[in-house]
């Protein structure tokens, strides 16, 4: 404190300004980081992954494309209605589902995991290589609403690719970028 007290009023003003500016920058950065990481988008229907997993439904039952091609797929309204025409029909969330079904509309789900447009990921290749869903998506069966758990950036992908037997083949840029 002695040093600060020794400063002239103008210097103190400058010093204070610098500190305030620094704090402001940190706060703004924090806000940006929090806004980026939290799943701010609310889904149209509060789909509960945990409840479905507890009832013994496998991931692939709904995300049927996962072993066949690049995209795992979101189930159609028809698929949901296959059970929910009879199951838990009195729940308000299921009534919303019925609403979409009656209006013949697809459910506008919000995307949870997204890659940039220049990254191509093939689910089927990873399933064939016996990578579990949880390796990238986390314990979805414990989640009520699915949320991204890992930052799926290039470093994350390469960490895993580097450990594989055919490491060299998996290190090629064209594996993901085309």
């Amino acid at each position: 404190m002695r040093r600060v007290a020794g400063l002239s009023s103008r210097q103190r003003l400058l010093f204070g300004g610098a500190v305030l500016g620094g704090v402001a920058i940190v706060v703004i950065l924090l806000v940006i980081v929090i806004a980026q990481t939290s799943a701010a988008d609310e889904q149209p229907i509060a789909f509960n992954h945990k409840r479905h997993a507890e009832n013994g439904i496998q991931c692939q039952f709904c995300h049927a494309g996962v072993a066949k091609g690049p995209v795992a797929g979101i189930p159609s309204v028809e698929k949901c209605m296959g059970c929910h025409e009879y199951v838990a029909t009195d729940s308000p969330q299921i009534q919303r589902l019925h609403g979409y079904w009656e209006r013949q509309e697809p459910i506008p789900w919000k995307r949870v995991n997204e890659q940039p447009s220049f990254v191509y990921f093939n689910h089927a290749s990873h399933i064939a290589a016996a990578v579990s869903c949880g390796a990238c998506h986390g314990a979805v069966e414990e989640m009520t609403v699915a949320e991204p758990v890992v930052n799926m950036n290039m470093g994350f992908c390469l960490d895993c690719h580097a450990q594989q037997e055919n490491k060299d083949a998996l290190w090629d840029c064209a594996v993901c970028h085309r």
């Binding site: 072993a67 690049p70 940039p116 447009s117 220049f118 191509y120 093939n122 089927a124 290749s125 399933i127 064939a128 060299d168 083949a169 090629d172 840029c173 064209a174 594996v175 970028h177 085309r178």
Partner: protein
Amino acid sequence: MAEEQSNGHKWTMIVDADKCTGCQACVVACHAENNVPVSSEDEVIRGRAMHWMRIERYWEGEYPNVKARFLPVFCQQCGNAPCEPVCPVYASYHSTEENINIQVYNRCVGTRYCGNNCPYRVRIFNFWAPRFDAPLEQQLNPDVTVRSPGVMEKCTFCIQRIRRGREQANIEGRPLEDGEIIPACAQACPTDALVFGDKWDENSRVAQMVPSERQFKLLENLGTEPAVYYLKGGETHVGE
């Protein structure tokens, strides 16, 4: 640089210039498959036509004995590519797995050095943001990046089809078959002038066509070791 056979594939294209009629179906197919924007007339006049594949037309002889020569030119996927060492960020690099030349669009900073060093001038620069006039934007290929302005792009031998074919064969646990992977241009060619395959697969069509007597490589004297082979008979030509 001697060619060494490794575990990957040596993707190769055969262009039979005797069969080429210059119909440009391959060019259109390439635009559709690879999300290549269509340049405006002004841009073409300014020398910026965006084609990954082009039919170079040369006239031979004097009127009335004029012969038209067609030469489909696209990235030659050189084994000893001049574009690769000059890129300061490795955006242009050699895939040891596919043995072709790959351009990583998201790595490219747009120095355009590779374009200068390509003797075939097949590397295309995105001078503008890509524009697709309606209804073309409805048919963009989701398997191919739409390139941002300021990056280089070029023929990839339809790497998205190669990768998809390999991944599918891998999933099904079987080896790739010859003819399973066909780039858009070869698929569209009505005269079968373009043949694509793995040269290291001895039974493939390309492996059997490469030793042809009619075979030559474009600008072979530069030692770029292209993976595109042209076939041309001595006396046959279009226009007779």
